[in-house]
């Protein structure tokens, strides 16, 4: 109580005693940490619970704020209204360029203390660390790394059609014909804008390579967007449609995955969260299902990183709880449990991967290799490359082109140019 230098009133003394009493009882400052997330499906929810237990072991109180639905759309709406009323949660699942937007609003708190004592700069790959920083300061902590450009396949169907797993786009189209003749759907797909965009960015990478991808999908270079290469990529993308079935309209991605599992369809282009569906069906990678880099994108790794951004909190105890959370997220125990459940790979490449399956091991290997070669690119379809309004404008062009029978690739490229210019 020696901290009080001024004469004390009776009330202040009593308050001081009360505070001292609580401190004495718990030994450490117990803070609240409220976490907004949408990890609500079975495995994810269990994994989030591990984090909760870890935080509570450290003596802090975890207030769960899970908002299900719409790939986080609902959660973001809730977050915005909370932030507007001046009462944001202490941590929220925010990713990619959106971290920068929240940072620009001045709402995020710095995590540099934790980052320094834990050595994040050494543990995290540069590309990942950059996404987590705003104005050179860490404001978010990565939870996992998803790879988007995967091809999933059912080996029995491929064998029956007499084709091997395609490694280039041409092989893919050829294999598609053979599979169709054998009576299967070559490529399972769901007709939703983000799924169309997922296939598009993969085809774009396969057609035009990493540098062109960066020029178009990250820098939005109008010249590249309207170029011949873009038109070629769009034409290839449209050809993919011939490999799909009629019933795809509005189909969810996991229904498309279950078509591959049940042997109705041969392949699917989808991020590594699809693995969760295969695992849940009791299948083994390499034996019951195959995973490979999407055709023609062996030297690329489109990443989709989930992260927890930390909002500025005023109470010291709560800040301590928040920093504890940030530290725990990157510790091996949570990274392992969470990523085993989610199908992704840990954000820290230095972890022991022996418990992970061969798809995840391959993913990590490619992650490190492409990081060295310069093939590590942000996924446009999953909000890692551009702001959400630009992403939306690109989605509109891509999905409209993909679905409309009479729009030419030249027109689509031209619309992409004007969409990019409209937001510049």
């Amino acid at each position: 109580m020696c901290a009080f230098k001024q004469p004390l009133t009776l009330r202040k003394t009593l308050l001081g005693l009360a505070v001292a009493g609580t401190l004495g009882a718990t030994q450490a400052q117990a803070g609240d940490v409220e976490v907004l997330h949408w990890w609500t499906s079975g495995g994810e929810a269990r994994a989030a619970n591990v984090l909760k237990e870890l935080v509570e072991e450290e003596g802090h109180h975890w207030e769960d704020f899970a908002v299900a639905g719409g790939g986080g759309e609902t959660a973001m709406t809730v977050l915005k209204s909370r932030a507007m009323s001046g009462n944001p949660p202490s941590a929220a699942q925010i990713k990619g360029p959106e971290i920068q937007e929240w940072g620009d609003l001045g709402l995020l708190g710095s995590l540099d203390d934790v980052a320094e004592s834990e050595g994040w700069d050494e543990k995290l790959p540069g590309v990942v660390a950059n996404v987590m920083k705003h104005d050179g300061q860490y404001v978010a902590v990565p939870v996992n790394v998803h790879r988007v450009n995967w091809l999933w396949a059912n080996p029995e169907v491929l064998e029956e059609a007499g084709v091997a797993l395609p490694t280039t786009l041409d092989e893919m189209f050829a294999a598609g014909e053979a599979i169709r003749e054998a009576g299967y759907v070559p490529l399972a797909h769901g007709g939703q804008a983000w799924q169309d965009a997922t296939v598009f960015e993969t085809v774009l990478l396969a057609t035009a390579g990493n540098d062109f991808y960066r020029r178009t999908m990250v820098d939005l270079d109008p010249e590249a967007l309207g170029s011949e290469q873009m038109i070629e990529a769009l034409e290839n993308f449209k050809r993919m449609r011939e490999l799909m079935d009629d019933g795809m309209s509005g189909r969810d991605w996991n229904i498309a995955t279950s078509m591959v599992i049940s042997g109705k369809a041969a392949m699917q282009l989808m991020g590594d969260w699809a693995k969760g569906e295969f695992t849940a069906a009791g299948l083994e990678p390499g034996k019951d299902y195959l995973c490979a880099p999407a055709p023609g994108t062996e030297h690329s790794f489109t990443f989709n990183i989930d992260s927890l951004a930390m909002f500025r909190v005023s109470e010291e105890a709560d800040q301590e709880a928040q920093h504890t959370l940030a530290r725990l997220v990157l510790e091996p125990e949570f990274q392992k449990t969470f990523n085993l459940a989610k199908g992704s790979i840990p954000a820290r490449p230095d972890l022991d991967m022996s418990e992970f399956d061969q798809c995840a091991q391959k993913s990590l290997e490619d992650f490190q290799r492409t990081a060295d070669e310069g093939g590590l690119v942000p996924s446009m379809a999953h909000g890692m490359a551009v702001r959400s309004d630009v992403q939306g404008a690109i989605f509109d062009v891509v999905t409209n082109f993909f679905n409309s029978p009479d729009m030419s690739a030249e027109q689509a490229a031209q619309r992409m140019v004007s969409a990019a210019q409209a937001v510049m």
Binding site: M84, G247, S249, G250, R387, D389, D396, F401
Partner: protein, 309 residues
């Protein structure tokens, strides 16, 4: 207790009961005022706020950097907005007209003193009890070419039968009309049936005496008598049409592409998922303008003619 307070209201009660009388006079206002205040704030206040936001450059969160009508100009250049607006015209027009026609026909047929009328009425009315989400999902399955009607008819042996509106960007908006009409026409039928029952039998008998045939009686006597019902039905149906959101989300998801987008889904997408609150607000204001443009002339003409008639 003195009654010196100046009051314009003549107080004719005994001095002892003044307070009670005054309370009684104020009571309706007191009771109504919270709800009036709430609707003023939450409906009209937020309308005003939306209008203010539509004049700003707000993106992810509301900001108050005013840019004049720039958001409206952007909206006018936005191709997706025009698709949504055209779709609303097609959907709203067809939905209201088909519902009115079908509802009137069903009501007239049910009004022929048939057996089991109550049961039939319930069957037709029942879809209205479902939420649009349920309707949307069921019709999504029915219209899915690989699963629903097309697959069934092909299963019967008609191999060339095609009914793939759901995946055809040019036709997808009509699938919304089908589902919405299925849901709402029974309700319109119930409205018309109530109206038909309210028509004085003597008018019809008089027309019969004058030698008018049945179609002529309906066309010249009964249907004109139903004008107030048409008024209510159009009001309700156009509301349903303009705010349609859940049906689109459940049935087509706005697709294929964004070919079946409606202004409500456009507004939601831009304001809430694409961080363009300014643009979303501008589209919301145009929707409001659209509603007013339809309803005010109609309300005006209906209410005026009723007063005079």
């Amino acid at each position: 207790m003195s009654t010196v307070t100046t009051s314009t209201r003549p107080v004719d009660a005994a001095p002892g009961r003044t307070a009670a009388a005054r309370l009684q006079a104020w009571l309706p206002r007191l009771v109504l005022s919270p709800s009036i205040a709430i609707s003023l704030f939450f409906v009209y206040g937020f309308m005003l706020w939306t209008f203010i936001l539509s004049l700003t450059s707000s993106r992810m969160l509301p900001s108050y950097e005013f840019v004049g009508f720039a958001q409206y100009a952007r909206l006018m250049e936005n191709e997706r907005w025009w698709v949504a607006a055209t779709n609303l015209g097609i959907f709203g027009g067809l939905f209201v007209i088909i519902c009115l026609g079908l509802g009137l026909l069903l009501a007239i047929l049910l009004d022929q003193r048939i057996r089991q009328e109550g049961a039939l009425r319930t069957i037709y009315l029942y879809p209205m009890a479902l939420s649009f989400i349920v309707t949307g999902v069921v019709w999504k399955w029915l219209l899915n070419p690989g699963l629903g009607i097309q697959a069934m008819v092909r299963g019967w042996g008609f191999e060339s039968f095609t009914f793939d509106w759901l995946i055809d960007p040019k036709m997808s908006i009509y699938t919304l009309v089908i589902a919405a009409v299925w849901q709402a026409s029974g309700f319109v039928m119930a409205l018309f049936l109530a109206g038909l029952r309210g028509i004085d039998d003597s008018i019809i008998k008089a027309a019969q005496l004058d030698g008018a045939g049945l179609p002529r009686i309906y066309w010249r006597v009964v249907i004109p008598c139903l004008r107030p019902v048409v008024f209510s039905a159009v009001m309700i149906l156009s509301h349903i049409a303009i705010k349609s959101f859940d049906l689109v989300v459940a049935l087509t998801g706005g697709g294929p592409g964004y070919s079946s987008d409606l202004p409500a889904t456009f507004m939601y997408t831009h304001a809430f998922t694409r961080a363009q609150i300014g643009l979303g607000s501008a589209s919301a204001m145009l929707m409001l303008g659209g509603v007013l443009a339809i309803l005010i002339p109609y309300l005006y003409s209906e209410l005026r003619s009723r007063k005079h008639g």
